[in-house]
């Protein structure tokens, strides 16, 4: 039993370890291990395409995390007070947005937005003053952020709602009985209790967005996120650079995820 568990953990982590090991390869080719060096880290860092893609990914992931934790938390709080058909509708939408495959979200957003832009752009152009180059809507940061936020927002709602369900109601009632204003009850009683779930939601949203390939692949337009860059590099052939980017991405997400998991579980176990 124990050996079996060890074998499964090895299966899960050895491939990750190999990528990290080979990212420190000093050789010229990805798969001949010559010796240890951080040479390829330097090369990746000075490659403007990599830095561009990294910047794009970070901007998108940060916006997604901020948006979805704000919207998800407000929705989770509000949904406590909603009953009946509206509640059923919202629960349905939350589950659909989580369950539907990313690839379907990707194509649906792509064709809906492109079609909408085709209608809106001439309209915008006609409204624009003569002689000024009209604003043009196109796929880019906004569309990726919006599409990622659909999933992560629902994720935050579910996490925060679970925390609200486990919250001590008596505290809120006590606060209200002591004539605290609703706002004060919120930030002195409710917020501290749901905060770990909100923070975990923030971190998970960031990681989801930072790691997502398939949605960005469809709706990023001319912008390249890091996973899209890695995908096209792999298509062109394996280089040590991909190992470096892979190791960095894995390191970032592993760190954030472990923090998120500990935040979510710490209170549950007490």
């Amino acid at each position: 039993m124990r050996l079996y568990a060890i074998a499964v953990y090895l299966f899960l982590y050895v491939p990750i370890g190999i990528i990290v090991l080979f990212s420190f390869n000093s050789g010229r080719h990805a798969s001949d291990f010559v010796g240890l060096s951080v040479k390829w880290y330097g090369k990746a860092w000075s490659n403007p395409f990599v830095i561009d893609a990294l910047t794009t990914s970070l901007i998108i992931a940060l916006s997604v995390a901020v948006l979805s934790s704000l919207m998800g938390t407000s929705a989770a709080l509000a949904l406590q007070r909603v009953r009946g058909p509206m509640r059923v509708l919202f629960d349905g939408l939350i589950y659909v947005s989580i369950m539907i495959p990313g690839i379907v979200i990707g194509i649906a957003t792509l064709i809906a937005l492109v079609t909408a832009f085709d209608i809106l752009n001439p309209l915008l152009a006609s409204l624009w003053p003569e002689g000024v180059k009209p604003a043009k809507l196109s796929l880019g940061y906004t569309s990726v952020i919006a599409a990622h936020t659909l999933f992560t927002m629902s994720l935050v709602i579910i996490l925060v709602r679970a925390r609200i369900a486990g919250m001590d109601r008596a505290l809120i009632e006590a606060s209200q009985d002591l004539y605290a204003t609703p706002w004060r009850t919120f930030y002195q009683v409710t917020l501290p209790q749901i905060f770990p779930a909100v923070l975990a939601g923030f971190l998970l949203s960031f990681t989801f967005s930072f790691d997502d390939f398939i949605i960005s692949f469809f709706v990023a337009g001319a912008n390249t996120t890091l996973p899209v860059y890695v995908f096209s590099s792999i298509r062109r052939g394996i280089t040590p650079e991909v190992n470096v980017i892979g190791s960095v991405v894995l390191f970032v997400s592993l760190t954030l995820l472990i923090i998120a998991q500990l935040l979510l579980r710490r209170r549950d176990r007490r």
Binding site: M1, R2, V82, G84, I107
Partner: protein, 290 residues
Amino acid sequence: MAAATAGGRKGPWLTVALLAPTSAWFLILLVMPLAVVVIFSFGARAPMGGYAAAFTFEQYANLPSRFAAFKNTMTFAPLGTLLCLLIAYPLAYYLAVKVSPRWKLLLLVLVIVPFWTSLLIRTYAWIFILGGRGIPALLELIGIEGVRLINTPGAVMLGIVYGYLPLMVFPIFVSLEKLDKGLLEVSSDLGGTPLRTFLQVTLPLSMPGMATGCMLVFILLMGEFLIPAFLGGGKIFFIGNALVDLFLQSRNWPFGSAVAVTLVVIMLITVSLYMRLTMGKSTGRDESLM
């Protein structure tokens, strides 16, 4: 719409205001795009690619031309799910029943975490390992030559298990952990052999967890694109690969939409049949996401 609870001092306006951004998001980025896909699936292809307004069933009639993608997906998804279940169950059991509480949290986190890290990079790791200079090169050193691992059905299956195993372990773990340890003792006190206790007590009680895990893995596998693209070498084609091809390369949006609608319909039918067969109520869906 809001039957105010918890004092009810705040008016319904606050509720509406708090829900407004989320509602807008659902409407503009979920309901509308999905409606567009359904509408497009009944349309015709414009000469330059894209969509031309029409009402025709032509796209759906054309579905058999992508039969291989559907067949592959419908074979690999259930088989992959089953394989994940078989491998995940003993681990979940070990974590829930055998491990001391001190290590449980850490070990559990270590299983879940890979699922949330980049599937792209994790699948890439296997290109690296199974590719010509990976395991086959090592085998050559000990005299076994001409082994081909990558771009085979086996490689795709390996990628599937590697990618989705964590998602299966967690819900099973949750259902096994809730299990009343007293029941196990009662069973053994009454002379049940360990095997019998397992088959008659543990296994039936962990059914909801298994059902949740299978459903999650199955749904994700139905929409998979990366694993067959990387490890199947274009020979093993899933519906996801067909969709990428239709939307990004050949720009046949109406036909692509018909394929996407069919995929979602197959998913909905399988999942609802499955839920009806395995359980009356939805158990542990919230928890299983993390």
